[in-house]
Amino acid sequence: MLNPKPSLKTTLHALAYLAPLLIITVLFTVWPLLSAVRLSLATRSNFYTGRVTAYGWANFGALWHDPDFHRAVQHTLLFTLGVVPASVLLALGVALLLNRLPHCARFFQTLYFLPFVTSTVAVSLVWGWLFQADHGVVNGLIHTNIDWLNDPHYSLLALILLCLWQSLGFNILLFLAGLNHIDDRYLLVAQLNGATAWQRFWHVTWPLLTPTVILITVNALITNFKVFDQVYALFHGSAGPANADLTLTYYLYQKFYIENQTGLAAASGLVLFGLVLLITGLAGTYFHHWTRWLRKDAR
């Protein structure tokens, strides 16, 4: 009996196969999300006992009026804008170069990938040292004496640089995979069609790489929207000088673990969730639009 019609039995059968993953998803994603929604709406509650005595929008109202939260949103956006485009473009550039380097590509690939697999604490320690005002390597390189980690004007930039450097290797790897996926013959044909090196990149490599670019960008956006470890480690458990590196996730952490403001923490978490959802949705639409050619039923 080929292709049995979907019946109750076969549906249950399929469900049984899906169950483990479904249970995990519900347990570790849906349930916490619902709990967070409940917590964010609780205006009077005991976090430890879980008893809620009053519900309302007060937590969201408090966020709306909290200058620290505004700062956190602003910093998160600035930070993401600082890291993501630069990281994606740099990674693409390096990947294109490595792709042309047949011999030592693996070596460089490993070199670039190392920061990604090194613990954030170690990375932050090293960068804390590089960013030192007096004898720091960064100041030595660009002939300045900026107090990177103590000057609120520069500390976000310091964080951006660190995260940029740390994320580069992974993005390069993804780009290399994407480039590998592109058939060389398209570039050959383009060359025969009289395209210059730049035209080949712009009219062939780049559009064929769009799915990869979007994937990497979305991934980078989400990752960087949730930046926390690097802040925590680089500024030794603070949000930088004058809160200059207060990000959304750090705000959440601070409200939850330090200030015991569980409702506010949950509400800010939901805002973060909403923002990430929005970005993913926008990226998805964009992806849909730019990769029509991938689908059979194009247009």
């Binding site: 009077r44 005991n46 976090f47 430890y48 006992t49 879980g50 620290d68 804390g128 107090d147 980690l149 103590n150 000057d151 609120p152 680089l234 500024f235 030794h236 458990g237 603070s238 000088p241 004058a242 809160n243 200059a244 601070q254 939850f256 673990y257 330090i258 200030e259 015991n260 403001q261």
Partner: protein, 422 residues
Amino acid sequence: MPSLRRLTQCFLLLTGILCLSACGHPAASSQAAHRTTITFWHGMTADHQAALTQLVNRFNRSQTRYRVVPVSQGNFGTLQQKITVAAKSDTLPTIAQTTYTNVPNYVQGHLVVPLDAYLGKRPFQDVVPVFRQSISYRGKAYAFPFSKSARILFYNRDLLKQQNVALPATWAALHQDGKRLKSQHITALALDQSFLTELNDLTYQAGTPLITRGPRANLNTKQTRAATHVLWDMLQDHTATTAGNAGYGSTQFFAGKTLFYSGSSAAIPVMQASAPKGFHWGTTVEPRYHGRQGTSVSGNDIVLFKSASPAQRRGAAAFLHFLLQKKQTIQWAEKTGYLPLTTSACQDPHYQRYLARHPNARAAVRSLDFGFQDRAFQGYPQYFTAINQSLDRLTTTQTSPEQALPQLQQRVNTILRENRGA
């Protein structure tokens, strides 16, 4: 496949060892089963952890009913997070190290039980008065003082002699010296990242603490502004510096161009270990302000969780009682650099001899006479975050106390109001 065989051999060997060890001490394990286990989460590491383990071992040997199992959570930050998570999932230990300022929150969450019922009032009578201030919340003893330290002034002996500077009796004198030394490129005072403790001291000395009964915040009073200016002015004219991202001022102090460092006495062992060769330093009490002395005492305490069984609670009390005994508290102080917990221990000839041998430890003990602690209240962690953020703005941006303090007062008022409602 030689590796597979090796693996099998290892496995057999391990199984054998486990069987042997399991059969080897039947008496010991059955005895342990009789004992009530008291788990003790703490945030101590390295030498401090070793000293604690020693005390615990001695306690465990001293009697047959209870057994304390210390569990280090790495540091105080993770310890705090672990407690929050464990409270939610009903996996709290019997006792844990925490600061007494968390007690109001734990009481509200029905997480902790008062110690009085198990420990009685008597053991607390000998506790150093300043530590006693923080034990009680709403008339009941919740926080048992444990790893306590005082803010003291470290000084660079050689530089002091070379510049012919006397130990500063007052903050004004310190500032004056600083102005004089600036031409020599010498900084008078190194502070930690935040100068909250020093500000706390100053307002206390002025007789107008930041938080008074109520609780009421006095953050924008004339006195607080004046006290803030003492420190802020020094930062402005560079007679004082904050540590910034380095965290502790000791780094700057050890660089040799700084006369004083205002820091915690808990740092003494670390500073002893990390001082550069040939660097001579001493300690003294914090300067006066408005003619008065006053030093804030900080550190960690121990709380007993409600989830513990009656037997565990009794066991915990026995252990805390044990810690308060002269022999133990003196050993704890000597090994860790924390302060002895009882007056009798402070006066004990044995400990006095220790102080004679370790003059650097004296300043903190002396400070106990005029020490004080913040009062704990619902919302303290929020208050603490808010005031630290304001002070951070004062040190890292062009904000003046006149701009920052009114905002802070407002914010803290909100915090206090919200928590009163809760």
